[in-house]
Amino acid sequence: MADWFSHLHPAIQALIRVLLLVVPILALVPGLIWWERRLLSWMQDRIGPNRVATITWSKTSKFVPPFLRGKKTSIFGLLQPIADGVKLFFKEDITPSAVDKVIYFIAPGIALFPAFALGATLPWGPYPSLTPISNANVGVLYMLAISSLGVYGVVLAGYSGNNKYSLMGGLRASAQLISYELAMSMSLACIVLATGSLRMTDMVHEQEKPLWGLAPFLQNWYVFTPFGFVAMVVFLICMVAETNRAPFDLPEAENELIAGYHTEYSSMKFAVFFMGEYAAMFIFSGVLATVFLGGWNALPINWDWVAQHSTIPVFSGLADIMGKLNYWLAPLWFMGKITFMISVYIWLRATLPRLRYDQLMSLGWKSLLPLATVNFIVVGAWILVSRIVAENASNQMMGAIAGVGLWVVAGVFVYSIWRVLNKMSGEPVLESRSVTLVDPSKEGVAAS
């Protein structure tokens, strides 16, 4: 992009790239907390935080303009996160006497590290010199590797607290994160297979190609392909589980485990855990936007193609302007997609009750993992069929075979979805929980 940038020392270039990713996240996390509280309260028909930063103008002061005297100016409680931050800073920092001191102190740092390191291969715009921090040829694999480190902070916090509830939270977290990592990797593997590269920027460029190889004015975002849609659903569920958010917040289930793994943490150490969770939400949303939702592109339309091929001059001029907006405001579009995904997070939290432990395990291992694996086969079939169609576009026989092949692909796809839905709505496997249930219709309730 800019010529002067490439003349800087490589270390300074790298530093600028890191700051361009980390500073916006650090700055936006308080806004994210405000947005979560407001949206959640709106969804639950409450008012939510709307008091902080309401200014009541003086009735008598000469410094206040006459039209403001005695009025109240409200900015929707936008400064609530600052009040929360001040509260967290000035709370007493209690270290229980029985904790494992060294691990207790380093655990919040270990929890924060993967949340920020995740973003190293995430491109937020079509500017190769500014983003991503490292355009390594192992992009997605790097993301999976770093997200698997997220377990350590939680597990060590749970262990070092020397408290049975903390330990339970830590154990639950490690089981949950390991289980959902597999399905997440499989769903990303589908996209890697379709792209033919592990690089994040390659994935975005692949999604700028014509839709299904047929419609050159539309972009082939992976959401619009059947395998991509299934992979996105699997990835979305796994992403919520990986960030320990409701309905997968078993490690910190407040009505079972007090506060789970961070029961023994107070003040700023707790705030660091909080920060890590929100930063991870942020970056996972960005990964989903990059891999499935076309990355930094605003709309799934190839503006350049429209500008070149439109016969109406007004349209081509408009498309040209839109293409330029799409290029220069890319971070804005990317941010918009992240905001949308974070709203989905909050929506899920407002809607779904927490899963039971056996439901969590059966959803991860018996539904999502087989679905992602079947999806992997579907991607293979899709690529095969599209190659046959592309090579033999004139041959009708091959066209017919390809059509049948596509139907088989669609059939496998529908069958797999039906199977998962069937499993999810089924009765819970009660004997596997080794709990004897009392039947209320007989003597059970009446006797007591």
Binding site: D100, V102, I103, A136, N137, V138, L141, Y142, L144, A145, I146, S148, L149, V151, Y152, V155, L156, G158, Y159, L167, G170, L171, S174, A175, I178, E181, L198
Partner: protein
């Protein structure tokens, strides 16, 4: 700044990462708290991954993190936490002739390996793999062409392992 000529930035980074890895490896053996030993092993593996990165072998480094740091060590920690192992106070022996013999043999082993390894490394400034070596494409291509049979046999072995562990873990099938 007048740095000696042999101290290139690459060597400084290599020495830092390698030194931390070696210290962490020492910590695994020396510390007597099981969780801290496991953590030292995590740090050691992580530093090894960084060493691979500096050698231009990104794929190898990432696999090191995914397999060892992300999967195996988490299971180690899980088991240690499940058993809730503290420091083993009852097992510290004061004077043991085995320690002297063991130390001597360890030094001998280190000397033997060092004699073989150090000589070729003298004067090496910048050990790097060529560009594109060990990239995902190259690894995938060789796995599915030249090494197809070993790859498939390894996957069958893993399958047998999974079935066997289910057989052992399940009370009734």
């Amino acid at each position: 700044m007048n740095l000696p000529e042999w101290l290139t930035p690459n060597l400084a980074i290599f020495a830092t990462i390698g030194g931390v890895a070696a210290l962490a490896a020492l910590g695994v053996v020396v510390l007597n708290n099981a969780v801290r030993s496991a953590l030292c092993l995590v740090v050691c593996f992580f530093m090894l991954a960084f060493l691979y990165f500096t050698l231009n072998a990104e794929m190898l480094g990432i696999l090191q993190i995914v397999v060892y740091t992300g999967a195996i060590m988490v299971l180690f920690l899980f088991v240690i936490m499940l058993l809730n192992l503290g420091p083993m106070k009852s097992l510290i022996q004061q004077r043991d002739p085995k320690m002297i013999v063991g130390g001597a043999m360890g030094l001998a082993l280190a000397g033997m390996i060092g004699a073989q390894v150090l000589a070729p490394l003298v004067g090496v400034q910048e050990p790097r793999a060529p560009e594109g070596f060990g990239s995902p494409q190259a690894v995938g291509y060789s796995l599915f062409s030249g090494y197809l049979y070993p790859f498939e046999i390894a996957s069958i072995l893993l399958m047998v392992g999974i079935v066997g562990s289910i057989l052992l873990a399940k009370r009734r099938i």
